[in-house]
Amino acid sequence: MSAAATYAQGDPGATARRRRRTAAEWTRTAIVTTAFAAVLIAFLSPLAFSALLSVKSPAQVTEANAPILPSDPATYDYNGQTYPVYYVPLPDGTTRELALVKKGRASSDFVDPANPGAGTITWQGSWRNLDQPWKVSPHWDNYANVWGLIDFPRALFNTVALALIGTIGTVLSCTLVAYGFARFRFPGRGLLFTILLATIFLPGAVTLIPTYTIFVKIGWVGTWLPLLVPAFFANAYDVFLLRQYFLTIPRDLDEAAMIDGAGAFRILRSVVLPQALPVIVAVSLFTFVYAWNDFFGPLIYLSGQRELQPLQVVLANFSGIYYKNPSFIQVGNMLTLGIPVVLFILFQRVFIRGIVITGVEK
């Protein structure tokens, strides 16, 4: 008897088994999904932490028992004056939120915000031992303050300019080199490609010292040139990524164009590039985010040149100076990470595809 026939006739045992299995699968799905969601929340909590800290007041940051959300101690306006509010344990055993209007060592005067007309209540004990209630209030002015403190527009302009010029140079040069490796046969191609890939393994320190020394001698240190010029000479990761993609594009159209008399550049521009648009976008985004996040290059080549430094370096200096005001540092963080994160969220498929090509496919 075929499986379909069994199914049609209805086998009560099978139906029960199927139902049991779905129940078991449902439980497993619930457990796995919940566990993963919990791990993910923990994994992303630093971002939430940073966002919350960026709008906290200095008073809250230093207070040990302050709440998680950005808050200020509650206050109450009474007779044109602002008074702090405290949790006051009253003789009848209840605890009420009362505003402290007159401080005293052994006893203090309070007023009840719920019933200000009743006048002051005198309470025996030291107000210093009382806890304060907190009221949620984000300090957006932290952002305005930091914006002014570090000449944020200038640093942002530097970051964007460095990242854009570097991206243009990288995409141009890597496209040409990848096209050369993917479409032309020449002696030593395999060896040269292997050397290209081997440069990935070379510790940066090995080439840094003479490079830096030469940049000092020709007066490039303290300018953007050491950061931008090398971008126009291709790099192993992006050439590899582009070449892998070019190899997947069929050569038929190339050959048709060649027969029509198109030269190598013309074929690259009119035949290969239009088909390679996804990978060009991927390389551009990667390079842009990488350049945006670069710290070490600008740190060594632009030290002391404050008006030329990008956000990363400015932020690191800023955290050294304002280490006592963690809120300000997190404001800087939120402002710095904003653009890469937004770019990633918009183009996440492109990013993930690019990583898969460099890491897995050969």
Partner: protein, 325 residues
């Protein structure tokens, strides 16, 4: 050459004779034209490689036998192996190498296992919303690293969120992560794990590439979840694991930027963040001793080469390339 792990595995497999054979054959005019154009297209990289890689490499090697400093107060001269002798007797170098190795022992397994396990989970048929979770796990990877370090610095303070959480689950005296030499490495590992997004994506792509017939066959043979993982998933993933290991070794030997930002390069607490590359960086930029810095750089290069070569030899026969012919 269509084995999986991309860039890395191809390297030792290049046969020099095969590469050179083509050049000894006489070329037709058409082929010569093609070769000329190809070389023209790759010329930006050739120029860049000569100027920014090969020449500096050779120069660094030459520096190690000289007495160059940025100020050059003593006349430039050939000093033979003096820099190497000084390095061998330099307590600071060996201590910093020890720091790097200690951290690597903790970091390397973590950086390989965690993305693998997360990818296994994301690939599970019991997970709902895998797409959005994959995106969110990747997200911290694009957070600029200075910003990431400064966020974690606050997370890991004595009354930060990590310790608040530990208090909540009943740990009475949570560690002082950033100020205790015994806890600083786990703290650095936390910071590192935040950027494993790319590793997760690579592992996930590898898992998706395993033919389902293999799992089918394992099921018919009566293999349980553990046996399937051991006998199907891990062997099929070995090229990816090897790839992450090799790049991880190269990276961890150069590790120093996180402690540089976190501790301002002081090596606190108690010298536990005096990484090899931090020492190299300071020799070069703070003390401006080009020749000694170059010696330290070549030593690092030699260690990197040695470790990766040993790994390639050890991997022979252990890494399974499904596409190998």
């Amino acid at each position: 050459m269509n084995q999986l792990p991309g860039a890395t595995a191809a390297l030792p497999r290049v046969r020099l004779r095969r590469l050179l054979r083509r050049s000894s054959r006489p070329m037709s005019p058409l082929a010569r034209r093609e070769a000329r154009q190809g070389l023209l297209f790759i010329s930006p990289w050739i120029v860049g490689f000569l100027a920014f890689t090969l020449f500096p490499m050779v120069a660094t090697l030459a520096f190690t036998f000289l007495n160059i400093t940025l100020a050059q107060e003593t006349p430039l001269r050939f000093v033979g192996l003096d820099n190497y002798v000084r390095m061998l007797g330099d307590q600071h170098v060996w201590q910093s190498l020890g720091v790097t190795i200690r951290f690597a022992i903790l970091w390397l397994p973590t950086s390989i296992i965690v993305p693998f396990v997360v990818a296994l989970g994301l690939n599970s048929k019991y997970l709902r919303g895998a797409g959005i979770m994959r995106t969110l796990f990747f997200l911290p990877y694009v957070v600029p690293f200075v910003a990431g370090v400064l966020v974690w610095e606050q997370m890991l303070t004595d009354d930060g969120w990590i310790n608040t959480f530990l208090n909540l689950i009943g740990v009475a005296n949570p560690p002082s992560w950033l100020f205790d030499a015994g806890w600083i490495y786990p703290a650095l590992v936390f910071i590192g794990i935040w950027g494993i997004g790319a590793g997760i994506v690579i592992n996930l792509a590898g898992l998706r590439g395993i033919p389902t017939e293999l799992y089918e066959a394992a099921r018919i043979d009566g293999a349980g979840a553990w046996a399937t993982l051991r006998n199907v998933t891990i062997p099929m993933m070995s090229p990816i694991i090897f790839y992450t290991l090799i790049l991880g070794v190269v990276d961890v030997l150069q590790y120093f930027l996180v402690p540089l930002v976190l501790k301002n390069g002081t090596g606190e607490p108690a010298g536990s963040t005096n990484f090899y590359n931090l020492n190299l960086y300071q020799t070069f930029f703070t003390f401006q001793e080009m020749s000694y810095g170059a010696t330290l750089a070549w030593f690092l290069f030699a260690i990197t080469l040695f470790v990766t070569l040993v790994l390639f030899v050890l991997a022979r026969g252990r890494v399974f390339y499904a596409g190998e012919r």
